[in-house]
């Protein structure tokens, strides 16, 4: 990297950080260092402004009113849907279903698609890297319908064993549901290969993209996935909104997941005719302003640019990995060849919780625990890890402070 390039990126990060008011907060008297981005990201001013603007100038219920405000709110909400479609290159905006988050998106597919179209003896494949939200819904539907749940194992680096995956696939496989990036370990999974191999057996594939949308450019058509799920709050938008993308023919044949207003065409006590996509899956008044903020978040991400995001985050990951490896008794959990900016580790003989408490005292927000991935922790025979996860607004200086603070915490806990 040339000096000029470093200078430019430093300037750019400074400008970016100015857009996130929370980064100026002090925690326990210290400047906040926010390394819990895999749990939720902070919000840029444009997203915060959009929420205020919505309640100041747009608030009305959507899709129903003939009055101007309702139209304004509906337009803003539907604009966000179009933005999402373009962002992940979905063929039509009707294929974008707004949900409460990734969890609800996955549940929608489990309880609509799997419940309607899978039969006793059919198999669903997930991986050992899944978040509980991509395990439990499938277990529930498996129990209900007598289906088999198969799990792709991982190696000691936290990478999926692709040979084992291939041997799990058969004509009985109806659904493959895996994450794009592991929230606990940061592993980037070879989803394109996973998808094409599943399709060879006629299975549909759901990708849990909760951890990838803010780090990698997603193109659902190139991936050729059948479903893609993610959350707004992990990509700089407000909490309470998520997305399910699905192939049109699949969404069309799927029964509704929830009943209520907005998802119907006509209702009589004898029969209800369901609405068309995407409204068929969006019963009730949604989290309107959260949905709207997705558009602002996408515009913001695009203004920063994925090229910069990927380069800077990889730089942060490499720097932090190198620095932390120099500390005695540290063991990094998750050393896959392809990793997103997630650094999960344990300190031998010290409980992750103790590290988390002391880092918090020094103004550093990390996640400790099992990260809703207990099977991964069991696989590595540990109670949990300390996880530092970086976003593009984080800096090398913050990593330096984190490393020094971590050393201090370890010294106290020895």
């Amino acid at each position: 990297m040339t000096f000029q390039a470093v200078y430019t990126s430093e300037e750019k990060i400074k400008e970016i950080r100015n857009q996130f008011p929370i980064l100026k907060e002090k925690i326990n008297g210290k400047p906040l260092i926010y390394f819990d981005n895999a749990a939720t990201t902070q919000k840029p001013q444009t997203v915060i402004d959009a929420i205020v603007n919505y309640y100041s100038h747009q608030n009305a219920n959507i899709h129903r009113g003939v009055h101007t405000l309702s139209q304004k709110a509906t337009d803003a909400y539907e604009y966000a849907r179009k933005k999402v479609a373009t962002f992940i290159n979905a063929p039509k905006s009707e294929q974008i279903i707004f949900t409460r988050g990734t969890t609800e998106s996955i549940n929608l597919v489990a309880f609509s698609y799997a419940r309607a179209f899978l039969n006793e003896g059919d198999e669903i494949i997930i991986s050992a890297l899944e978040h509980h939200s991509n395990i439990v819904p499938w277990q529930m539907v498996c129990e209900e319908k007598n289906l088999q749940l198969k799990v792709i194992p991982i190696n000691d680096k936290g990478e999926l064993l692709m040979d084992a995956y291939e041997s799990l696939l058969s004509n009985k496989t109806k659904i493959v549901a895996v994450n794009h990036i592991s929230n606990a370990l940061g592993t980037i999974n070879p989803i394109k290969t996973i998808i094409s191999k599943a399709h060879a057996f006629g299975a549909v594939v759901l990708i849990d993209g909760a951890q990838s949308v803010s780090h990698l450019k997603i193109d659902v058509q190139t991936l050729n996935c059948d479903f893609f799920a993610f959350s707004g709050h992990k990509m700089f938008a407000s909490t309470g909104v998520g997305v399910l993308y699905g192939k049109e023919e699949l969404l069309n044949k799927m029964p509704p997941f929830m009943g209520g207003g907005d998802m119907i065409k006509t209702v009589t006590f004898e029969k209800t005719e369901y609405n068309e996509l995407p409204h068929k899956f969006e019963a009730g008044t949604p989290h309107i302003e959260a949905g709207i903020t997705i558009a602002n978040a996408i515009e913001y991400i695009e203004s920063v640019g994925f090229e910069f995001i990927m380069e800077h985050e990889q730089h942060l990951l490499q720097y932090a990995t190198q620095k932390i490896s120099e500390i005695e008794r540290i063991k990094i959990i998750g050393t896959a060849a392809h990793k997103a900016s997630v650094l999960s580790f344990i300190v031998q003989e010290i409980h992750p919780y103790d590290i988390g408490v002391l880092l918090d005292k020094m103004g550093i927000a990390v996640r400790t625990g099992h990260h809703c991935t207990q099977p991964i922790m069991d696989r590595f025979c540990i109670p949990g890890t300390v996880r530092a996860s970086f976003a593009f607004y984080n800096t090398l200086e913050e990593i330096d402070i984190f490393i020094e603070s971590l050393k201090k915490a370890i010294a106290m806990l020895k």
Partner: protein
């Protein structure tokens, strides 16, 4: 009252600790002095599950006084338990039932009782009181 005396002692002791580091170093030290639960009582029945650190608690009634022993896999949690045990162990069931534990707030460690901490401490206090209630019921029967 014995409990109030103990509570005041703890508050006074922490007053001398000025910054967070001293405070936590003290808690970590206290963790090492925790009256440990016997291994045979470290069972699933005696475990108080927090999301993150686990706590084991056992209680005996000895001459009308409740004696607690405990353990945790996290040292800071262990230190916090040691404080609770110091405040409550060896008191009568009635004293424990009526004890208002405000010292945690006073010594600036209230955050450890927040449900988001998931350290099992809040459930542990509840469990300590439940033991006292159970022992009291047994005594009066």
């Amino acid at each position: 009252m014995e409990f109030e005396k103990r509570q005041k002692e703890i508050i006074d002791e922490f007053e001398f600790l000025t910054d967070w580091m001293e405070k936590y170093e003290h808690i970590i030290e206290l963790g090492k002095s925790l009256p440990l639960i016997e291994e045979k009582y470290k069972t699933d029945d005696n475990i108080i599950k927090g999301c993150q650190s686990r706590v084991w608690l056992h209680a005996d009634l000895n001459n009308g006084k409740v004696i607690y022993t405990a353990d945790s896999d996290a040292i800071i949690t262990k230190g916090m338990i040691a404080l609770m045990i110091r405040a409550l162990s060896g008191l009568t069931p009635d004293e424990i039932i009526n004890a208002e534990l405000h010292f945690i707030d006073k010594i600036g460690l209230k955050e450890h009782l927040s449900p988001t901490r998931s350290n099992g401490l809040l459930s542990m206090i509840k469990q300590m009181k439940l033991y006292a209630i159970a022992f009291k019921a047994k005594q009066t029967n």
